[in-house]
């Protein structure tokens, strides 16, 4: 089965973003990352455990009229390093990007340490250094393992 067939299975979008080659099981986390719960009215298609050429199975998320911020891409790079991001305009892929593991992730995640200074009302964003197998709060030093990251998404 080719990628084109896949895209047909999960209907094409006119304008927006296709996040492809997500590790199986990550689609709902990506929706959480983007703060999408359906209440915003945006068109969203989700494929889960779809056969893939490069991964055994993959997830795919298509979001209409939405592009990702750098912080969102950074988190994506950590939770699903194989993912690709395709920007769609008038049904065509105008930009296809692989994502690089960032040195840090700013905003988007909250620190799991409830006593961290970032959990108060200070005028700062959270910042996490990216380690080999997780993230570390720049302020309090708390470490989040990769498997725990999605539990700390700041849903806006």
């Amino acid at each position: 089965m080719t990628d084109a067939d896949q895209e047909l299975r999960v209907s094409k979008i006119r304008n927006g973003t296709v996040i492809d080659h997500l590790a199986a099981g990550q689609a709902l986390n990506v929706l959480a990352l983007l703060g999408i719960d359906g209440s915003g009215g945006e068109g969203v298609s989700v494929g889960m455990n779809v056969p893939s050429d490069t991964l055994a199975t993959k997830d795919i998320v298509k979001v209409e009229d939405r592009e990702l911020s750098q912080s969102e891409v950074d988190v994506l790079a950590v939770i699903s390093p194989e993912a690709t991001i395709n920007i769609i305009r008038e049904y065509d892929v105008i930009e296809k990007q692989r994502i690089d593991r960032p040195e840090s992730v700013d905003g988007v995640l909250s620190c799991p340490n409830r006593n961290c200074i970032t959990t108060g009302d200070e005028p700062i964003r959270t910042r996490f250094a990216v380690l080999e197998e997780g993230l570390r709060c720049h302020y309090c030093g708390e470490i989040i393992r990769e498997s725990e990251i999605t539990a700390h998404l700041t849903v806006t």
């Binding site: 959990t119 302020y139 309090c140 708390e142």
Partner: protein, 308 residues
């Protein structure tokens, strides 16, 4: 961020540590020579949490250098009570002082404050995070009593929330020190400290009983296990009773053992230990003054040289 802030013991190299310790030894040898060295300088004391030893020894240290201190007083009587952020408070206070000392109940407070101020900032304790100046005086006391290389140090008590433990264990990785952690399982060193120790290649072992390692120790660093860390009084009493040291324990230790404690203690060191040669915790507390004089002297000198 300025390089001369002191936020965490993890930022200290062996050379940094030895520079402060050597300067403190010079101060100890001839305190009068340092009087008046920083007359006209003002140190701002910003304590958002109660403190006796740290606050008073910084106060004494600055005054012995000829400088003066200003103190924001208790949080209850400050603008913090009106809801001012720490960032704003620190931005205001940096205009009043040549250096600032901050103690705050939240982890990471000093790291954040350092992003907002342009005078040297010293972390005097951030929640369960770090307390690097306590570590410098701990190291000074260890060096005076046991040396800092080829020694075995046991750190006992609340290793999870004890900021003095987090700072000390990080700083000890600069030296040839075997570290043993002794605590109940629920109060073992946190993941972040364990990560740093692992990354530094430190030799570290963990125990739940002091007797497993007591006979090997050159230094035993005791910390207080706090009642509020336990769900009920019985559990607390059971655990706290296992992590105390008395004269009978000293019989099973090396004659040269040095017992330290960041103080205040409650009952984790029996009063009878005070009269033994092992007891060095009051000397340790007194060392807070020369160490903080040495640190402030270095910071204020660097600041003057930089023309700020």
């Amino acid at each position: 961020m300025r390089q001369d802030h002191l936020i965490s013991a993890t930022q200290l190299s062996r050379a940094d540590i030895e520079a402060v310790l050597n300067r403190a030894a010079e101060i100890d040898a001839d305190p009068a020579a340092w009087h008046g060295r920083h007359s006209g300088s003002i140190l701002g004391l910003c304590f958002f949490e109660p403190s006796t030893r740290t606050r008073m020894s910084f106060d004494t240290a600055m005054k012995r250098l000829g400088g003066r201190t200003i103190d924001m007083g208790a949080v209850e009587s400050s603008s913090v009570k009106k809801g001012e952020t720490l960032a704003d408070t620190m931005r205001v206070l940096e205009g009043y002082a040549d250096a600032l000392v901050l103690r705050h109940p939240s982890e990471g407070a000093a790291t954040m404050a350092a992003e907002f101020v342009d005078v040297p900032l010293v972390n005097a304790g951030d929640g369960a995070g770090q307390h690097p100046t306590q570590t410098l005086l701990d190291l000074y006391t260890i060096r005076e009593n046991a040396g800092l290389d080829d020694i075995t140090v046991g750190i006992m008590g609340d290793l999870k929330y004890g900021r003095t433990v987090h700072s000390l264990s990080a700083a000890l990785t600069n030296f040839d020190v075997r570290q043993h952690f002794i605590s109940p399982e629920s109060l073992q060193i946190p993941r972040s400290v364990r990560y740093d120790l692992h990354e530094s290649g430190a030799q570290v072992r963990e125990h739940t009983h002091l007797d497993d390692v007591l006979a090997e120790l050159d230094v035993l660093y005791v910390t207080r296990i706090q009642r509020e860390r336990f769900p009920d009084e019985n559990e607390y009493r059971k655990v706290a009773g296992e992590y105390r040291i008395d004269a009978a324990d000293l019989e099973r230790a090396k004659d040269s053992l040095t017992v330290l404690h960041p103080l205040p203690r409650v009952d984790e060191i029996a009063p009878e230990v005070d009269d033994t040669d092992a007891a060095n915790y009051f000397e340790q507390a007194h060392n807070g003054v020369p160490i903080r004089m040495a640190l402030l002297d270095g910071m204020l000198d660097a600041d003057t040289e930089a023309g700020r």
